[in-house]
């Protein structure tokens, strides 16, 4: 199945406690899972609504994930000193499982 993915515009990520994060698609597509959702040929409803609801993520974690998307978009291909991405120790395991799910 061929890929038809529109990289323009923005999308909304919603956490299970109702927080919404709007960010450019280009950034969010650092996650292969999200990227696949927006493949029009695969017929996910998310592709039409430009909105993904994550039932298993709370706001704080999703916020960190979004921060990472922006961080990655900003610094990939940059040759200088890249600042470290801060992950609070107590969130490490939680984010790890989610990062595993998001394939990022």
């Amino acid at each position: 199945m061929s890929e038809v993915i529109d990289e323009e515009g923005s999308l909304t990520l919603v956490s299970n406690d109702g927080f919404q994060f709007v960010l450019p698609k280009k950034c969010a597509f650092a996650s292969k899972t999200i990227r696949n959702m927006f493949n029009k040929n695969s017929g996910y409803i998310e592709a039409k609504e430009n909105c993904v609801k994550f039932e298993e993520m709370r706001g704080a974690v999703l916020e960190k994930v979004c921060e990472y998307f922006i961080y990655k978009y900003k610094y990939s291909g940059y040759n200088g000193q890249v600042p470290e991405f801060q992950i609070p120790a107590e969130m490490g395991l939680e984010i790890l499982t989610i990062a595993d799910f998001l394939e990022t």
């Binding site: 991405f85 992950i87 120790a89 490490g92 984010i95 790890l96 499982t97 990062a99 990022t104």
Partner: protein, 668 residues
Amino acid sequence: MSRRTGVSHVSGPNSALTEFLREKGIDTSRIQAAHGASIRARNIENNRRIVEASLAEAAAAAAAAAAGDEDAGDEDEEVGESSATATRRRKKKVVKDDDEDELMLDAEDEEEEQPVKSKRGRPSRQAATTGIKLKVAADTKKRKRPSINYVQDDTESEFEEDEEEEEVPVRTTRNRKPTKAQLKKKKEAERKMMEEGDTSDFEDSLAANAPVPGQIAFCAECNCRFTVTAYSQASEDGDGLLCHPCGNKKKKSAPAQTTVRRGKQTPAARANKKSTARALLDGDTSGIKSLQDMCIDVIAKHIDDVETLGYIGSHNLDKISQILCKNRRLNDQTIKLFFEPAEHVLRFYDCSKVSSNSLREIGAFVPTLRRLYLFWCGRMNDECLDYYGTQLKQLESLELYGAFNVTEECYVRFFKNIGSRLKEFGVSDTSRFKAAAVEALVDNCPELEVLRLRTLTHLNDECVRLLTGLPNLKVLEITEPQESVTDGPIIDVLNTCGPGLSELTLYGCRDLTDETLNAIHNSCGRLDILNLGEVELLTNDGISQLFTEWTQNYGLKELNLKCCLGLQNSGFARIIDHSGRLLEKLSINKCKDINSDAWTFLQEFKLPRLEEMDVSFVRSVDDEVVEETLKVAPELSILRVWGCSKLTQACKLREGFHLIGRESDILA
């Protein structure tokens, strides 16, 4: 006296400096002669010194007064210094080492002259007044500065030289004997300067045949008579020097040229370069880590606070295990985090801190285990392995590296217990795995597909011959046997299981010869990976014949010929001709006879799959070879070039390609 590092050619016992000078076409004998003359002159002067001392002071004072303004400017940014200074400074280095004795003899003279020389900028008036007072002042000043960083030191010494130069006609030697530490600092500073490629002034000055400081000359502009100093500037058209007033004028009109001279590498840039080099060595390739890797780093850092890892996926579990082992933090507590009841694979890469009891618990907590890899499990004992044999009912694959406490009888019992279930087995670094254990393995586990025998003390022909009883082998590794393993048994083994082998490693089996290659040629049709590293008796003919008309084999994916010193261009050509299309990894580390012919030959071919190549210590590799190889191997991402001294920073690399071991990268 090798103050200069980073010279690219290594040749014989010449010092790096000699090499450098020769490269630049500079004849050292001239420098030596000039230098010798100056020493002689000094000695003569020495005798006349006392008589002329008073005269000298007056003359020096006058000259220093003239230079005073300039010096004040020079002190902060070592700029206005003429090329002659640099030359002199370098010459002086040479002198200094030889003349230390002389300097010591002159120690008493030094005191007398101190007022004139030391005091930064305005010594002249003082010197003109009272010598004794100033001497005291100078001494205290000296004591007040116990630690001098090298920049200061540098400027100070420059100044002193300057003065000395002015006094050459009258004075003989420097009055202060530099301490060892100061000498070292100076050398360091100079080395740094040279490393930064700041050699132009050196060459220029030699070429221009500049008048030596101390001489009397006539100004190119106003024609007045003046004493040449280190700070004398060259005139506009370049064929004369300017007197101090004219020089000052010129400097004011063109200040820009002087400011850029020493573009010192900032510490930050140097640190960055170093960290990049370190990342390269660690194989840290991607710029931005994935979020998973970042989390794993965080978890590994706080592993002592983790209560349970929960379900994070086997590959993440493995990554955490790798990081913990790398940091040597796998111990009796942390290892328990990995005991997930339904796990199929467990790999621990450094169990040296894990007790036998904890290792035994693996058998109790993870009974579903199919593959178990334990590296450096030196504390494991018989009881533990026996427990695995009875408890792990699904175990198919076991690799125990460094379990030197487990006895041979225990291995025999284990093989009997596990029987034909065992498909993969690896063992290393023990002197208790002998012929009897091999025999039990062969008798009880006929289904064995993977066998790895690494650095075993008692692995010999007898053990190898027993392996003929394993017809299903797909991977055979015999690495660095401590006893002799010869052609005969290896050929027997290849004749029985050769057709099924996909990987053959005979690394460090030093007694093998071309006959083994012949057997490989005849029987190993499916071979993908061949490792013949450090099999030093192999000849070029043998390797050529292996790859000549090897029609039953489609081509190798990995080939390691590290230290096969016999390999020559023709053999290399055969390899590329036969396997070039499929090769993914190639090592010709230390194959010293590969030269430009081979590289030219390589250009005719495509290496479409080559990802990793090791050409370390192949001296013929230079910038061009790397650039051309990059053209024919589009997928090449790692090239190891340790000891390839011809490679320079100028080599053009592409994005995402890693050159590991380049000299200029490491000598930051």
